[in-house]
Amino acid sequence: MSDVWRLYSTKVMEHFKDPRNVGEIENADGVGHVGNPVCGDIMELYIKVDKGIITDAKFKTFGCGAAIATSSMVTEMVKGKTLDEALKITNAAVAEALDGLPSVKMHCSVLAEDALKLAINDYYKRQGMVSKVVVPEAEHDHHIHDEEEN
């Protein structure tokens, strides 16, 4: 309660200060790329997959504190998960794992979810498992504005 006015939760700041899994994976099995310079956030997510399980994940992000923290968090969350489990990770789950995000920053969690989905799709494509590829949700408008006026 006492800190509701802070832009970011302690958890967000932890991941921002000391982001986990920064970098690229040399021979990644899937890569997801979302965002663009105009909207101010770009995220690249790399995954390594072994027998349907994500064994490693890394990211590179250009963006605000929330973009970096969600990138860090989503890479943490997917490690050790099956692809099906990973596909169930929603932006809300990422935000929640970070003890919440300010509403103006929720689009960053959407970005993280989309990057993950794209990386998994990329993996399926590379594997020729085209039937598994879900409609990519990325590249829609990531700016979820704070509609909650009044």
Binding site: P37, K60, F62, G63, C64, H143
Partner: protein, 388 residues
């Protein structure tokens, strides 16, 4: 950890002398200035003394100063006041694309209510071209509003020239001098303005008080309706301590401004040069010469502003991305966009603004800390591909 505050353009601390001067008006001389008894009249006297001081700072007459709740209200009053007073006769306002939101959003409000607004472009330095004003002005132009110096990039506009054009065109001229008053010379007669906005908290006065200069004879409608305060032009019980504070801050600024500006220019140029030397892929924003003494604005390539600000904060350094007002918002700076910067650079802006308590040591601290942060964030940036 010693805090290094380099965001004086966002707000300044209130000077101890100002706080001291305000104090009696909370508890002792607390009367309502509209009251008849001597006790209320004393408060009225304190307001009038402050009015004289503020007027002196900008070479105006006391009765031309109208106190408001801040720079935002002053800007709103200038635009809405002139627009409503001109309604039915004139319906056009000229402003620029790099004004503060307090002007831009008010212009948009008036646009919705039927006024026509021309938003003038700026050049790569953030400078308005007086010729553009000349071309845009028509007999229907009620007001030209161009800021004195831009709060983000520090560029000082050719106000005198624009003032002459407005005058010749029969339009009123307003300038938002929130960033200049008390920092560089502001003379309403030299500038040729009808209206000028200022804000106390940008010149070591308290937050929540400002002033609008209204040249004698300039017709404006009221924004705040009610009592007869401020010669019926701004209703509401006066913020007596705040107004007293603005008065004292204005007086002290007048005395110290010249010397302080020189000192700040030294620090400013040192910071600019030092950053250029230490960090690659920097883009320098604003005019190199016609700029505020205390403003350094740069774009840091390949990385984003907020993440730099937050990292600097972790090291006790307070700076801003664009203007403070838009810091918490998503929109990239409209000023840098108007100057033609590509979006990824706009997103990588840092604004350092120095002031009274800034030391050489503060600058050194930036030199120590910022390059490491830039390196860390660049290592994370997908825009900067590491050679494989």
């Amino acid at each position: 950890m010693k805090r290094v505050y380099l965001d004086y353009a966002a707000t300044t601390p209130t000077r101890p002398e100002v706080v001291e001067a305000m104090r009696p008006y909370f508890t002792e001389a607390f009367g309502n200035p509209s009251s008849l008894y001597s006790y209320g009249q004393e408060a009225k006297g304190a307001i009038e003394t402050a009015r004289t001081k503020v007027a002196a700072l900008i070479n105006a007459r006391a009765e031309e100063i109208l106190f408001t709740s801040g720079g935002t209200e002053a800007d709103n009053l200038a635009l809405v006041g002139v627009a409503y007073a001109s309604e039915g006769k004139k319906d056009h306002i000229i402003t620029s694309m790099i004004e503060h939101h307090a002007v831009l959003e008010t212009a948009k409000f008036l646009e919705k209510r039927g006024f026509k607004i021309t938003y003038l472009p700026v050049d790569a330095y953030g400078m308005v071209n007086p010729d553009d004003v000349r071309k845009a002005i028509t007999p229907k132009t009620a007001l030209v509003s161009i800021m004195h110096a831009n709060n983000e990039v520090g560029t000082i506009q050719p106000i005198e020239e624009i003032g002459q054009i407005a005058k010749d065109g029969g339009a009123y001229f307003h300038t938002d001098a929130v960033q200049t008053t008390g920092h560089i010379e502001v003379d309403v007669n030299k500038l040729g303005v009808n209206l000028l906005s200022m804000s106390a908290h940008k010149l070591y006065g308290p937050k929540g008080v400002g002033a609008l200069y209204v040249r004698k004879g300039t017709r404006i409608a009221s924004l705040m309706h009610g009592g007869e305060q401020e010669r019926r032009r701004r209703a509401g019980t006066e913020n007596v301590p705040g107004i007293v504070g603005l008065g004292v801050a204005a007086e002290l600024a007048g005395e110290e401004m010249r010397e302080e500006a020189e000192r700040l220019i030294g620090l400013r140029d040192r910071l600019t040069q030092g950053l250029m030397e230490r960090i690659e892929h920097l883009h320098y924003n604003g005019h190199p010469l016609k700029r505020l003494p205390n403003n350094v604005s740069i774009c840091v390539g390949f990385i984003e502003g907020e993440s730099m600000v937050l990292n600097l904060d972790l090291d006790g350094i307070c700076v801003s991305t664009g203007s403070a007002c838009s810091s918490a918002s998503l929109e990239p700076s409209h000023v840098l966009a108007a100057m033609g910067l590509p979006p990824e650079l706009v997103h990588g802006t840092l604004r350092f603004t120095m002031g009274k308590w800034t030391t050489e040591g503060d600058i050194e601290r930036v030199f120590e800390v910022l390059p490491k942060i830039v390196a860390k964030l660049r290592a994370m940036s997908p825009l900067l591909k590491s050679p494989r």
